[in-house]
Amino acid sequence: MQWEIVIGLEVHTQLSTQSKIFSGASTAYGALPNTQASFVDLALPGVLPVLNRGAVERAIKFGLAVNAKINSPSIFARKNYFYPDLPKGYQISQYERPIVEGGSIGIQMGETEKTIRLTRAHLEEDAGKSLHEDFHGMSGIDLNRAGTPLLEIVSEPDLRSSAEAVAYAKTLHALVRWIGICDGNMQEGSFRCDANVSVRPLGQEKYGTRCEIKNLNSFRFLEKAIDFEVGRQIEILEDGGSIRQETRLFDANKGETRTMRTKEDANDYRYFPDPDLLPVEIAPDWIEQLRASLPELPQVRRERYVIEYGLSGYDAAVLTSSREMADYFEAMARQLPECAKLCANWIMGDISARLNRDGLDIAECPVGAAHVVQLINRIQDGTISGKAAKTVFESLWQGEHGQNVDAIIEAKGLKQMSDNSALEKLIDDVLAANAQQVADYRGGKEKAFNALVGQVMKAAQGKANPAQVNALLKEKLG
C-alpha cells in the first residue's frame, strides 16, 4: 500500500526580550542557577504578572510577517499542569483568541514553492529546568528559564515529508531571525520543534492517528525523528495494528522515538482565562507602527531576486536564508547587476565552503562583499583566470597584502597573458614542438586541438586566458 505522510509542526521560539514575559527578571542565558528567578517566577503568594510590551511587539511583528490576523483583544489563559519546573501549578499561555491567527509561510522545494498554512501563534511563558542527576534521590530545579517569553507557532498539517518539515522549520528559523524577534540559537534552546506525525493510505481524506515527537532541537534530529516515526507507524499498520495517540521522545543516540506519555486530552489542561491578566487591546496604529518597522521580508526579496537579477527560485531561496547573506549578495549585485548569477555562485560556492571550513557565519566573513566584487571585476576584464581567482580569494581570506586584490595578483604573479604577441610566441613554440599533433589536427582529428590547447596552457603556467588561446590557435592552424 502507498502511504501518505502528514506532518504539522509546533515551534517554540524564544523571544529576544531583555526581561521575562511577566516579570522584570533577566532572560540572559547561562547565569548561575536561580539567580534570575524573581518572586513572580517563583510564584510566591501575592505576586501579579505584568505583561512585557516587548514580547507582545515581537509576536505582532511575526503575525504581520506571515500575513496573519492580529487578534484584539487577545486573552491569556492558564494551562494547568503539575511539574516543579513551573511552581504556580499552571503555565500562563493562550487558548482562545491567541495573539496571531492564521497566516502562511512559503517554502522552496527545489524549483517549486509550496505554501504552508499556519493555525496560530500564541504567547506563553517557558518552564524552568529539572536536573535529574542524583541529588540524594531528588531533582534539582533551576527556575532561571521560567517565565522566558515564547511564541509557539503552530502549522496546519500541510507538510508531506521530513524534507518539507525541515524546509519549513529552516524557513521559519530564518524568518524569526530576519525580523529580529528570536536569536535562533538552537543549542541554547531558543528554537525548538515538536512534530505531529501521522500516516494515511494515499487518497484517504481522514487523517491517521498522530503521535507528537517532543523537543527536537536540530534540523537533523527533526528529519531523523520523523523518518523513524513514519517507518514505525507504517510497520504497525501494515502488520494490522493501530497507532496509539501519544507523546514520544526522540533518542538522538539510538536514532529512534519512544513513548514518553500517552496523550492527555486538551480538556485535561483545564484551560481558563487567567484572572490575573486583563484582555490585551492592540490598537491599529500600534500595528501600523510595527508594520512600518519591519525590514523587507525574505519572501519579497526572493521574488525580487528572480525578477530583478534573473536568479532561479532555488538560488534566490538559498541567498535569502539569512538576512546577512542576502545583504552580502545585494552589496555585490548592486555593483555587478549584470553578473548577479556569478555573485550568487561565489556566495553559494567558494565563500560558503570556506565559511563552513572555519565554522563561521557569513556575518563573520573576513572577506567583505566589496573585495569579492573587485575580484570578479578582474575575472571579467580578463586580468586573471577563474582558477587564479580562487587563489586570490584565499589570500584575501588570510588578510594578505592589505586585502588589495590588485596587489595580491601582482605579488603572486597571477596575471593572465593578455599580451597577444607574448602568447603568439608561446603558441608558435608549442606548434613547432608538436608537429605530429598539428598534422593530426589538419588531417581532421579534432581531439588533437584540445591536446594543443593543453600544451599551451601548460607552457603559460595557467596564466593564459583559455578563450584567447582557443581563438589564436584556431587562427594559426587555419
Binding site: 526580550t17 531583555q18 526581561s19 516579570s23 522584570g24 527578571a25 533577566s26 548561575l32 542557577p33 536561580n34 539567580t35 534570575q36 528567578a37 524573581s38 518572586f39 517563583l42 510566591l44 505584568v50 505583561l51 512585557n52 510590551r53 516587548g54 514580547a55 507582545v56 483583544p73 486573552i75 494547568n80 503539575f82 511539574y83 516543579p84 482562545e96 483568541r97 529539572s130 536536573l131 535529574h132 541529588f135 540524594h136 534521590g137 531528588m138 531533582s139 534539582g140 530545579i141 533551576d142 527556575l143 514518553m260 506519555r261 485535561d268 483545564r270 482565562p273 484572572p275 491578566l277 486583563l278 484582555p279 490585551v280 487591546e281
Partner: protein, 95 residues
C-alpha cells in the same frame, strides 16, 4: 449535564487532590448543585452578549521591556526546605 462520581474522581486526580469515598460523595452533591444553578442561568438568552474574559472591564497595562529585578536567590532560598548548588531540591518527578 449530570455529574457522576467518576467525573469527580477524575477531576480530583487531575488536580492532585486526594479524596476519600465520602468526600467524593459530598463533592458530587455540591458540584451537582452548582451545575443546577448553571442550568437555571442558561435559560437566559445570551446570544447577543459578547463573552467576557475578565470580570473587570479594563485593559491590560504593559510594562517596558527592562530588567528591574536583581538577584535575590539567597533570600528566596532561605525559606526553601532543601537547596543544593543553587538548585531547589524537590521529590523526583518520574515520567
Amino acid at each position: 449535564m449530570t455529574l457522576s462520581i467518576n467525573d469527580v474522581k477524575q477531576v480530583a486526580g487531575l488536580a492532585y487532590i486526594k479524596v476519600s469515598e465520602e468526600e467524593a460523595e459530598a463533592a458530587l452533591s455540591q458540584l451537582s448543585g452548582i451545575f443546577k444553578l448553571i442550568e437555571t442561568m442558561q435559560a437566559v438568552d445570551t446570544s447577543h452578549v459578547e463573552p467576557m474574559s475578565h470580570a473587570q472591564d479594563l485593559v491590560q497595562r504593559l510594562r517596558e521591556d527592562k530588567v528591574t529585578e536583581s538577584d535575590q536567590r539567597d533570600l528566596c532560598q532561605s525559606i526553601a526546605p532543601q537547596v543544593e548548588n543553587g538548585l531547589y531540591l524537590v521529590p523526583k518527578v518520574i515520567e
